[in-house]
Symmetry: C2
Subunit: 254 residues, 2 copies
């Protein structure tokens, strides 16, 4: 891992969806504003507002969530380094979800107008960003399947597989381990389970020797077994790959 620039993880992800020329990459890179540091549990965007810039999570974790008037909360996605807070605000003015940091986080800002101008000159960049948004949609759909059809243990296993795979894709995993600074309350709000049940389900995964999860660190001891419990496939995370490429890498992603 070379020392990451603000945009390097984003570019890494874009490259796997829509190949960008060096100039295009560079143009995007230089459009990024300097990063601002946020503290844990600060809001990056609030439901109903229309921010004038697009944030790029450089480091740290954040989540996107919706809260019903009576307090029920559903986390609808996690943001990891390299994720854009809201590509959709380029085109749709109003935020329909709140985005909050989970940990301290560095967020680089793209000015909305600057980015729109950039896309006009480099349509490929627009395509790439749009692809990124489409992948987010696939993830949202997979979460729906998860919460709708899988049992508690399958759900949890699936979430862990997904996050680990995404972390790996931006070089943030190492020998089966990655950072994962989530509390059981947050897991519960993601999986639509109670905290108590998440706790027991986690214990079951530990008991089976599949994962360790404590101190903000996730370690997967047996990815194949976890994946099989979860009925997880990474297709939806790498929709740019053809079947053939995927087959070749089947045993590679660690």
């Amino acid at each position: 891992m070379n020392p990451a620039t603000n945009t390097s993880r984003l570019l890494q992800r874009l490259a796997s969806l829509t190949p960008l020329s060096p100039e295009e990459s560079h143009a995007l890179e230089s459009a990024a504003g300097s990063a601002r540091l946020y503290r844990p549990h600060e809001d990056l965007a609030r439901e109903g507002e229309s921010p004038g810039h697009i944030g790029l999570l450089v480091s740290g974790f954040a989540c996107r969530c919706r809260v019903l008037p009576d307090g029920r909360r559903q986390i609808v996605s996690y943001l990891i380094p390299g994720d854009l807070c809201d590509v959709r605000h380029l085109l749709l003015p109003m935020a329909t979800h709140t985005v909050s940091t989970l940990t301290a986080a560095n967020v680089a800002q793209f000015n909305r107008e600057t980015l729109l101008g950039l896309i006009e000159r480099h349509p490929r960049i627009g395509q790439a960003l749009c692809s990124l948004a489409l992948v987010e949609e696939l993830i949202a759909r997979e979460w729906l399947v998860n919460v709708g059809q899988r049992t508690a243990i399958e759900r949890l296993a699936h979430l862990l597989c997904e996050i680990f795979t995404r972390m790996s894709a931006v070089g943030l995993s190492d020998r089966g381990r990655c950072e994962l600074p989530l509390t059981q309350v947050e897991l519960a709000d993601s999986l639509a389970l109670s905290t108590v049940h998440v706790n027991r389900t986690l214990q079951e995964l530990r008991r089976q020797g599949l994962v360790s999860f404590s101190g903000g660190m996730l370690e997967i001891h047996d990815f194949e077994a976890l994946r099989s419990i979860a009925i997880f496939t990474a297709d939806y995370l790498q929709p740019g790959q053809t079947q053939h490429e995927r087959a070749q890498r089947r045993f590679a992603p660690r």
Copy 2:
């Protein structure tokens, strides 16, 4: 309602997101291939395949769903007239969901290359289509909140509110009524409930005098009450509107 052309409902929806010039509209209109008629329960796209064209549902209903290897099925969205089957295949080659008709359906085909060429000449069209995809993402997220946080009766009420609002937006509702050719099995697979429970929940909505639903026709007797049970707001369906516009129309959508 003037006699609808193949693309008129699509154009109607696009107009509310990204204003298109008459030329742009016309260009898009003439890019549409002739419609093909499908029978009920035919697949328009299959998981894992990469279709060479983009379908536009001209009439009829369809659904997008994922099936787990053991048969559990989650419907992840409904397609109504004016919806594109898969904008995302413009950029992402592989289908991650199966799309099937629910009723007989007319589907106009856009050739993928033609449409990409069109977008190159008219970037605004690209923007508009991208916005459309973003709205689908918002819908998917709302479904996640629905299945994750709402009770059975809230879920069902929410789904009915959503579909009715979408049907209204393309001129397919009339005095509180719209077509809705879904079986209770399909409702169950959308809401992550059992058929039996959907049946009982529907009865409860009927008992409260809120809706009628039979023979493929939905009638909402008290939208306000239904909406209040569902904790429904249409924000996510009309994200192009500013707060102000929405306030003005609050009492208008019928």
